[in-house]
Symmetry: C2
Subunit: 317 residues, 2 copies
């Protein structure tokens, strides 16, 4: 089968990949996949990953132990956990120290004709949800994760910094709480993509904003993180949705004096994300910047790396 | 009156201070006061404070609008808030942007014969609580603050790093939850001061400890903070009880991947601290390293700065 693989020479299209065997898991034929900032970081060497890239996808089950699953249109949680270690048994399977992660850690990903995941990771996609919407379930679940960790109240003021792939989804989900959500970006294009539920704030007009109850940093930059930290009110919450590998100017002193809570936030629950899509409460499809065939997978990564790109999709099926 | 003041030339005993006028607040005669790490930081120039130092104290009310208060033995919350700004009205008076803080910010402190505070800040001390115990109410309240912010469960494993003034109290309070509390220090002396409810762990034997559900950093050092961060289990909580002004090696990336919550924690509630003392559930008096008269206040600060010192008291009354 064909797949977009990452090796020592960078990402490339590989034509002679073996189709994955079920081997106790399920095998899916991929229909559509999405490029995420993490994919671009992996290409830059993050995590030392080698293999088929991609972890945002929708597809159809080809093989599974449960015959009722075969032929179903599904999406899938990306962490495959052992299920038996203390961390799994404590109800934190996404942090299982033995886990593999689709297209990120020890497991081939979704930028290929077929992928393999445990059947327990799969979620059937309701009929009203198109493939173009379903491919956003994984990042939309990551946005929902914030509301699992932080009690955002209807009267809160929320600031989302960075309006790329993930920030756009976080802003949409947080606005569903009734909170006043402000999206801050330097990019007019990204501000224009915000729905009516989110107030667009050009970065150069964000200086005088009052401190926020909750600030979500999706910038992935040290300067963005410092800016985010400075925007939290005393007693408020700073949510870190993107990794920042170095933060030379970061001082935790204001977090102590102002009793800030800093919440690291990663993968989220698929079921609520599917419900939001099925109910039409979040429409991610305006975020699609481009759609390229798998044969142009390398170009798709390059397209996603351009500053104006939001979501680049890879047509597989 | 006599007081220990901080000026441009450092701390000194000043003999001709005016006794504070009530002016709508209450005036207390100080009996006993305690030296805190913050006092030592103020001496080093932190916050740019000038005036009478000291914020841990017990004393007797001399003047107050409410005649029932006069003659009562009291302790007092250190933040004097405006009561009318949005932050105060939102129930966060300790973060009032217009606040003064006893001996720390815009308000003379407790290392003097008399001090002044709003009557609403005062808490009568129950008879069974000695002056030597009552003088610990402010830092004990700061330890209780952790349990207002973080749900520490009886089955949790908790690590307290740094067993100085504040760490000793945090370890004692956290052990009351039934959690397994480990106190880590390089100092044999500080480990020996731990009560039976806290397991002493010499720092050189702390390498192989399993990750903890909750880690409390009271070290006040960048290396201590990095060590604390590395000891939190995925999904766990890092509590920052001391300020670290620079943290050059600090990377927030593990906080995102492991979904760590970082909680800045400062001043706490006096009523629970007084209850713990009155019930004998926390006995802070073994932490008293030395007790010097106010006349030797400068020496008391020097004594408190020595690495082996836990709590140095200043006898005022």
């Amino acid at each position: 089968m064909i797949g977009l693989t990452l090796g020592p020479e960078g990402p490339q299209l590989t034509r002679d990949l073996p189709r994955p065997a079920a081997d106790g898991e399920a095998v899916m034929r991929v229909s559509l996949a999405g490029v995420c900032a993490t994919d671009l970081e992996l290409v830059r060497g993050y995590m030392g990953f080698a293999g088929v890239l991609g972890h945002e996808w929708v597809g159809v089950v080809e093989e599974a132990d449960d015959p009722a699953l075969v032929g179903r249109r599904v999406v899938g949680e990306i962490n495959a956990s052992c299920g038996s270690c203390p961390t799994c048994r404590a109800g934190r399977p996404t942090h299982c120290p033995h886990r593999t992660v689709l297209g990120i850690l020890g497991r081939d990903g979704a930028f290929a004709e077929y992928l393999r995941l445990p059947a327990t990771n799969l979620h059937p996609v309701p009929d009203p949800v198109s493939d173009e919407a379903a491919v956003f379930v994984e990042p939309l679940a990551a946005a929902c994760r914030i509301l699992e960790q932080v009690h955002v109240r209807p009267g809160d003021r929320v600031v989302v910094l960075g309006l790329g792939r993930l920030g756009q989804l976080c802003a949409r989900v947080l606005a569903l709480t009734g909170a006043e959500v402000l999206g801050v970006s330097r990019s007019r294009h990204k501000l224009d993509l915000l729905p009516p539920s989110v107030r667009p704030v050009p970065a150069d007009q964000a200086v005088g904003l009052p401190p926020a109850d909750v600030v979500v940093d999706t910038t992935g930059s040290p300067a963005g993180l410092a800016d985010a930290s400075a925007r939290v009110r005393p007693g408020g919450t700073l949510v870190l949705k993107t990794t920042v590998h170095e933060a030379p100017g970061l001082s935790p002193t204001p977090w102590v004096i102002d009793e800030i809570t800093v919440v690291g936030s990663r993968c989220g629950p698929f079921a609520p994300a599917l419900r939001l899509l099925a109910a039409g409460l979040v429409d991610p499809t305006p975020l699609i910047t481009a759609r390229l065939p798998l044969e142009q997978g390398v170009e798709a990564l390059a397209r996603a790396a351009r500053p104006d790109a939001i979501k680049v999709l890879i047509d597989v099926g």
